[in-house]
């Protein structure tokens, strides 16, 4: 995992400086997120373009999500999503209990493995969002992990505005 993390305790005088630094760190983190997510988006679009070509037209959103969980996941992560839940109102929760990119990650005890693994979810988030966009579904995608190597992706579809 990438280097990261600062020690918890700060002396009084350093607090302001630390706050400024924290701000920078957050900004940097956002910038990296934006970058990786954007790269993933393009990859997701391209993948769907190539691999949905010879299949029948999608019947509805759920059909698209299933394609994502089975075919696309297989293609990118060489396994399928383990669990799919939906509230039937545009939110889909995909659970992968053994997310490939996490399969060989570990840190020393107390090494905040989950926090440090988080950036590795950003590119896949982009892939999912890009793939959905290519299949005509606008959505926001978030992912997190509570315990390695599991990962949970939450997809919120954005309904097209009524004219």
């Amino acid at each position: 995992l990438a280097e990261g993390g600062t020690s918890g305790l700060e002396s009084g005088e350093a607090t302001a400086a630390a706050a400024a630094r924290k701000m920078d760190e957050d900004e940097e983190r956002d910038a990296v997120f934006f970058r990786l997510e954007g790269l993933g988006y393009r990859v997701g679009q391209g993948l769907v373009e190539r691999f949905s070509r010879d299949r029948p037209r999608f019947t509805d959103t759920l059909d698209v999500i299933k394609f994502l969980c089975k075919d696309l996941w297989m293609l990118v992560f060489r396994k399928q999503v383990d669990n799919l839940k939906t509230n039937h109102r545009g939110v889909y929760v995909l659970t992968d209990n053994a997310f490939r990119p996490f399969s060989r990650m570990s840190t020393e005890t107390g090494g905040q493995a989950v926090v440090r693994a988080q950036p590795f979810l950003w590119f896949p988030c982009g892939i999912v969002r890009g793939a959905l966009a290519a299949m005509g579904i606008n959505a926001s995608v978030q992912a997190d992990s509570t315990e390695l190597p599991g990962a949970v992706f939450q997809i919120k579809t954005i309904p097209a505005k009524a004219a």
């Binding site: 790269l39 393009r42 990118v76 060489r78």
Partner: protein
Amino acid sequence: MAASKASRLGEEIWKTRIDKVNSELVVLTYGTIVAQLVKDFDSDYVEVNKQLDKMGYNIGLRLIEDYLAKSNTMRRCSNFRETAEMIAKVGFKIFLNITPTITNWTSDSKQFSLVFDENPLADFVELPDDGRAQDELWYSNILCGVLRGALEMVQMQVEAHFISDMLRGNDTTEMRISLLRYIDDELPPEDD
């Protein structure tokens, strides 16, 4: 190691010990990275080449570990010609499933070319049509960096660069590799 033996070794490892990943995923991801670099550096292709080489170098530094573990070769190559065989027939085979042709050795056996009949990184790629990319961008430059980084970790300082690329409309894709020196075992440099 004889050339045919290296081929067999590469084939064997590729079949039995390598986790495969979808090639389109690799192609698209690499293409996206290059496209992003071109955007970041405002179509300064010389800089993009440099960045790709640097990324490759950092990959190479670590990839050699995986290469050694998978190929299980405990023995050093006895000369640079053997090194070339291992790069082409084992290294490229196990990581990209291709075997570039080794050719154009100089008489001192310190420089050779790798000719790529196929280049998976360049599948369905077109260079930007701006009249400059064709002359300035070395699309697969990351590979030069990978070789430089990987060989540095096994005590060889090399220089590698492309001299032709089918993406540019050349007849071949050819990389030139030169052995600068064997690095003696020495104390690691001070951190700076």
